[in-house]
């Protein structure tokens, strides 16, 4: 019996001199030594994807700028500025709970609101507008779109 033990670890820098790291390990059994190369390549990809996906959630960070003043942390959004502003506007105007919107993003896209790419953010905006009764009826869109 051949045991293949793999570990993938990544450490990244964060604002305010912080960093975080995450590693995933696994052990698997191989029937034949000829499988090692193929299996280790496959596992490397699986582990890397898993770490990369999870390490995007930075969690709590001390929000100081060195002078004892707090400032917003991790304000980088993956979507466009226009989309970010619209998401925040809908949340504010409709008095939505931010954690519920975060949960919706996680359920629908498997990522937090700030990590959504432009396509995902567009989907989230559509959903928020629908939930708050602001979306345009589909039939109107089709009529405007011309022949199908």
């Amino acid at each position: 019996m051949i045991v293949l033990e793999c570990n993938y670890s990544k450490k990244i820098g964060l604002p305010n001199y912080s960093s975080h790291q995450f590693s995933v390990s696994l052990k698997t059994e191989l029937a034949d030594i000829t499988q090692v190369e193929q299996e280790s390549a496959r596992l490397y990809e699986v582990l890397q994807q898993s770490v990369d996906q999870n390490i995007q959630q930075v969690g709590y960070l001390p929000a100081t700028n060195g002078n004892g003043h707090t400032k917003p942390v991790d304000d980088k959004w993956a979507c466009s500025d226009k989309q970010r502003d619209l998401i925040l506007k809908v949340i504010t105007e409709a008095k939505l709970e931010k954690n519920q919107v975060e949960q919706l993003a996680q359920d629908r896209f498997g990522a937090g609101v700030k990590q959504l790419n432009k396509l995902q953010a567009s989907g989230l905006i559509e959903e928020l507008l629908a939930q708050t009764g602001q979306s345009k009826p589909r039939s109107q869109r089709f009529q405007k779109a011309g022949a199908r």
Partner: protein, 265 residues
């Protein structure tokens, strides 16, 4: 027939130069005079029976895609209800030529057939459903491209739903829908930062016994992108030069501006 003219023609032309969509570009490529009547003069025509049928079919497919996204179980009653409500929503009278009931039955039969034959598994979670997207192509000297993606399947497969009266041939369908498919690829790549793995045309064919034709299309090539950019360039130049000459052909028979076109010149 109504004319909507809230802005001057010069303002409208300027706006049309700033943004473009696949449907607008397709219309431009088919006939510039049709484009002029539809988007510059904004002549309003009642929706055709085919347009209404297509719109309601899309509405039901959107509800079905959204339900999978929300991990809701398949329930045909829900879609029947969406269909009935959508069908009744005829804000402008449609000339059915006495065939509304048969058209309605055909539309529902197409959907039932699609639900049976679709290659999309009931538990497949979509990547996106009916999402608007846009990309600023000003660094290519082109307008902002806008569009709405019907569906992006898991694994980055862009899907566009079509209703048609005839059974499509795969190569013809790819060629005829090239503007739309390339536009969606560009929008998808810009919005996600990755290439689509493929594209699919899902045709629901309006026959007595409806047919479902799935046409897989490869990811957009560089040549296809260049082709689309050249078409967009021609669009911008044509609008600037007010080049709205008609392109006469078989498509005139189904054009809503047939009479206006006859009077043009």
């Amino acid at each position: 027939m109504n004319t909507v003219a809230p802005s001057s023609e010069a303002e409208t032309l300027e706006q049309l130069k700033q943004t473009v969509s696949a449907s607008r570009l397709s219309c431009w490529s088919k006939c510039r005079l049709q484009f002029y009547f539809r988007y510059v003069q904004k002549l309003q025509k009642p929706p055709t029976a085919a347009l209404h049928l297509g719109g309601v079919v899309h509405l039901v497919l959107q509800a079905w895609n959204m339900a999978r996204w929300k991990r809701q179980p398949f329930n045909v009653e829900v879609y029947r209800s969406v269909f009935d409500t959508g069908w009744k929503d005829q804000q402008t009278p449609i000339d059915w030529q006495g065939e509304e009931e048969s058209q309605r039955n055909t539309a529902w039969n197409m959907l039932e057939r699609y639900f049976i034959e679709t290659p999309i598994k009931s538990n497949e979670l979509p990547e996106a459903v009916e999402v608007p997207a846009e990309v600023d192509l000003s660094n290519h000297g082109l307008p902002v491209l806008r569009g709405v993606l019907d569906l992006v399947r898991a694994g980055s497969r862009i899907v566009d739903f079509k209703t048609s009266a005839r059974t499509p041939n795969a190569e013809d369908a790819k060629h005829q829908n090239q503007i739309q498919l390339s536009s969606y690829s560009i929008l998808y790549r810009e919005a996600t930062g990755k290439r689509e793995s493929g594209r699919e045309l899902h045709h629901l064919v309006k026959l007595k016994t409806p047919k479902i034709i799935i046409t897989p299309v490869e990811p957009m090539t560089d040549r296809e992108q260049t082709r689309l950019f050249k078409q967009m360039e021609s669009y911008v130049n044509g609008i600037e030069g007010k080049d709205f000459v008609p392109s006469v052909g078989m498509h005139c028979l189904s054009c809503e501006f047939f009479n206006e076109c006859r009077r043009w010149g």
